[in-house]
Symmetry: C2
Subunit: 275 residues, 2 copies
């Protein structure tokens, strides 16, 4: 495994990889089984696996947890090595956003609802860093986790709109035994919050059970109430179209999405119901 920190090094090492296909797993580090499952998917389907570890300041709001976001470089590198990553790209902030950097990519309407409404500018930060990384790494396939469903939709939209010649692979959400979706932010939870955090997934399962028997608004209210009753502070509980994130139509695929705060920690989860 090669670990590189600059764009020219990355390009040199990637270029030396020859004519094989390149799979790319962009991460913010603090790797967990969710990330590792994406690395395994890349390993299984492409010749050269590149992972990036970069906590992207542009996708954090001014009051968010950029400084506190878990960083564990040594363990991340060890896990990457163990999973057979060929190249780890570990740039500093100045390598991605050098002095004078000013061009950004905007997700448009899709990036302004739900997560985008709660986190203004978040998806523009995601698009900008992913667009840069796509041009730097030049992969054939890039892998993202379904856990961040709106991010998946935004990145797919960007690839289609800006005509990146890159396939997007989506890995299923990896969960703890009790249903909690893996997230680097789960480390923030107190013991009590950790117990109650299962309410997000329980709300989704309740929604999936009720959705055929009642209208969407009633289902959304049931999901919201379940989280609320467990002492969570819901941000949203919605049933949306999985590509556009507008309210789901009765006869298409439906994505149930929830977000809630437990103390100072904000968690999200989702469940896809395909038609």
């Amino acid at each position: 495994m090669r670990t590189v920190t600059t764009v020219p090094e990355l390009k040199a090492v990637r270029g030396a990889g020859g004519a094989g296909t390149v799979g790319f797993v962009p991460t913010m580090g603090a790797l967990h089984e969710g990330h590792l499952s994406l690395i395994r998917a890349a390993r299984a389907s492409t010749d050269v696996v590149v992972a990036s570890i970069f906590v992207n300041p542009l996708q954090f709001g001014p009051d968010e947890d950029f400084d506190a976001y878990p960083r564990n470089e040594e363990e991340d590198l060890e896990l990457s090595r163990r999973e057979g990553v060929d190249i780890v790209f570990l740039p500093g902030v100045d390598e991605i956003y050098p002095e004078g950097d000013s061009t950004t990519i905007s997700a448009g309407e899709l990036g302004m609802v739900l997560e985008g409404e709660d986190r203004p500018g978040h998806f523009d930060g995601v698009c900008t860093v992913v667009g840069k990384l796509f041009n730097i790494v030049d992969p054939d396939v890039a892998f993202f986790g379904q856990k961040d469903a709106q991010q998946v939709a935004v990145v797919k939209r960007m690839v289609r709109d800006l005509r990146f010649d890159i396939e997007i692979g989506v890995g299923p959400t990896v969960r703890e035994d009790d249903g909690l979706a893996l997230s680097s932010r789960n480390r923030y939870l107190t013991e009590d919050e950790r117990r109650r955090a299962t309410a997000l997934y329980e709300a989704l399962r309740l929604g999936a059970e009720l959705i055929d028997r009642q209208d969407l608004e009633a289902t959304e209210k049931n999901m919201w109430d379940l989280m609320s009753e467990r002492g969570l502070l819901p941000s949203y509980a919605r049933v949306v179209d999985p590509d556009t994130f507008v309210p789901a139509s009765p006869d298409g695929s439906k994505l149930l999405v929830v977000a809630a705060k437990l103390g100072r920690t904000r968690l999200i989860d989702n469940l896809l119901i395909e038609e």
Copy 2:
């Protein structure tokens, strides 16, 4: 010469071009000697020359001349053929902005001053279409005219920031015998306006003559006044840094930029003074 109208066709024809270098000249059609000089520069330095002809709605403001913008497809194709273009990409608006398209690229601060201030959203429209075309055509070198100096700066900034692996070639401004910079919009001018339109270049030459003898503000005022006295309605007359478009520093390269309206036609011009 192959003329193609869809992205898949373009990719197929471009891919069939083999391993040679690709030069790309993006245009809005209504080709004049300025465009042709860029095509010749591409022809002289790369193996395969791709030109695009696309009047990009996204870079026109709601009160601007999108509908009136000169379109002359047959003549453009004939000129392209004569100059040895290999592939002309002539997409419809729906091919570049299909239903649901929403991702945009923003130039940031650099796109908000001068031309960007007079034409809000103009450079975001430029970045978005150029970013798409770069990903579609995948050129080694792309050619732009110095006549649109701020566009050159914005595109170079975008290439650097988003890490496109593309070199930007800049062709000198081509002028009529009396100094008027070639522009597709010159066709809008009445006979009287055409005579007075030389005031832009005269203002620039006056500025270049005076700049070492007085401060920037005085030079800017002299350029403004010359245009104004000739009956033009100046938008700006400035001396800026050629890369950042902030006010030029006394000991660096200086770009003199002017914009003015003659009747309903808005023209721009510039002159670079290198240190």
